[in-house]
Amino acid sequence: MRTWLRIFVVGGAISFRALFSWIRPSVYVPTLLLGPTTQVLFFAYLGRTAHLESDDWFVVGNAVQSASLAALFGMGFAIDGERWSHTLSAVLATPANRAALFLGRAVPVLLNAAVTSATGFLGGVLLLGFRPPWSAVPALALLVLIASFACTGLGMLTGAVGLRTRDVPIIANLTMAVLLIFCGVNVPLDKLPGWMHSTAEALPLTHAIDAARRVADGASLGSVGTQVGVEIALGTAYLVAGFALLRWFELEGRRHGTLDRA
């Protein structure tokens, strides 16, 4: 158990530092901090153009959705980055527990996703006068963490697919596009066609965004318990599916000797 925890915590942190050593402040700030803020601003003004919803509605939707940027790309690179640094075979040759190995990599990605999302909220506060009740802030923070967890779970799945298809950025981009359109980020779910609404129910973010909007309006965390439960369940399901796919691709890669083929 101690070894499992060591691989999970220390291994996860070290691998994150190693694989993302190329991220300097000059990359991190424009991409992961300025990006969400400008996204929030753009869609709030687009909402004003369409006379659709309030600024706050767009701030919450886009800030929570920003978590997917860091989670999908982060998880993809946390898995596929090993191939680019020619260490994938070495990592998979170790007897280390695979769950500890891959879940450990997910934790820094999850935390980074939450920071990215929080920046979007901060942008809303500074530029659009977003003022949720102070009492709602802890609940919003928790919802951001839950949304980041669900997105990281989906990131594990898309990262596994990217490992196989050898094109992580394209898979991550496509998935982010789906989340942006389907999850009620900028278009209310009841304004979407029925099939899109149904699809949204099975995606991460939909329930977290709904819950965050209610909480920002003054609802208690208890009153959005159902949405929280569904979001956690979806995140767990995607995480398990992603892990299973990774294991399967690992076995396939070993069998066909294609692990390191770029």
Partner: protein, 275 residues
């Protein structure tokens, strides 16, 4: 007396040959880079997929209320947004890219002016965005029934390349000003939403704070977008087209100065090939 006309004739002929040579270098570079970019799945995805995402969002948002601009307005805006998307994604780091490919020294050492070698790169990057115009209009027509009625087809056909050129030259300004900034690409990408916002691609400038107006007017995409939209929906096309062209020329001049400065610094410090 006999020498003067001959000398003048040679001068005109020399200038003409110089312009032809410059045009040939630009066109060859443009075609070459356009072909290279066209086979990059990432670039094609950026040019063809993301504009569809933003067009879909705009269609769904505008359709949900009765107070929003028309869907054709949204389609055209999303299409030009796609041109800026490809530019913001890649043009900022265009010089860095040549450096990574190991050809920057060769390009700088070539007898052609540096701007004639690098401008086709950023204009080709913007040119890839033409896919976004085709895909967005088709998407809007087929899935959302957007009526594609172009008021002035001839002016529309002029406004599109003018907007592409303007956005490409803005990309060149970015590339040449960020050349000494190690993470130029990341910074350039961060400008994606701000330029969409302040150039009125989907959001009317009248909704933005008044202090943004002068910034928007100094940006050629503002006028390029206006020319494209008026050519399609109706209105005066000539003024925005002329301002767009004038700003494009100004961007070319500014880029030339910046590139000259960069080249001199790189030669003095022997840092041309350093990443």
């Amino acid at each position: 007396m006999t020498e003067a006309p001959k000398s003048g004739g040679i001068g005109f002929a020399g200038a003409g040959a110089g312009i032809r040579s410059a045009a040939r270098v630009f066109w060859t570079g443009f075609v070459l880079n356009f072909k290279i970019l066209s086979v990059s799945p990432f670039m094609v995805m950026t040019a063809a997929l993301w504009p569809l995402v933003y067009a879909t969002l705009a269609f769904l948002m505008f359709r949900a209320t009765h107070h929003a601009p028309s869907l054709l307005y949204a389609a055209l805006g999303a299409a030009v947004m796609g041109i800026w998307s490809t530019t913001a994604t890649s043009a900022g780091g265009a010089i860095q890219q040549q450096r990574w490919w190991g050809v920057l020294e060769l390009l700088v050492a070539a007898p052609s002016r540096l701007i004639l070698v690098l401008a086709p790169v950023t204009v080709a990057i913007a040119g890839i965005g033409v896919y976004s115009i085709a895909s967005t209009l088709l998407w809007g027509r087929l899935l959302f029934g957007v009526p594609i009625h172009i008021s002035h087809p001839a002016l529309f056909a002029i406004a599109i390349p003018a907007a592409v050129l303007a956005i490409g030259m803005l990309g060149l300004v970015l590339a040449s000003s960020l050349v000494l900034y190690r993470s130029a690409s990341a910074f350039s990408q961060a400008l994606e939403y701000p330029i969409w916002l302040i150039t009125g691609m989907l959001i009317p400038l009248s909704l933005l704070p008044r202090w943004i107006d002068p910034v928007a007017w100094a940006l050629a995409p503002t006028w390029g977008m206006r020319a494209v939209r008026r050519a399609a929906i109706g209105g005066d096309v000539g003024t925005p087209l002329l301002v767009c062209a004038a700003l494009t020329v100004a961007y070319a001049g500014l880029s030339m100065l910046l590139l000259h400065h960069f080249e001199r610094l790189a030669r003095e410090r022997a840092t041309l090939s350093l990443t």
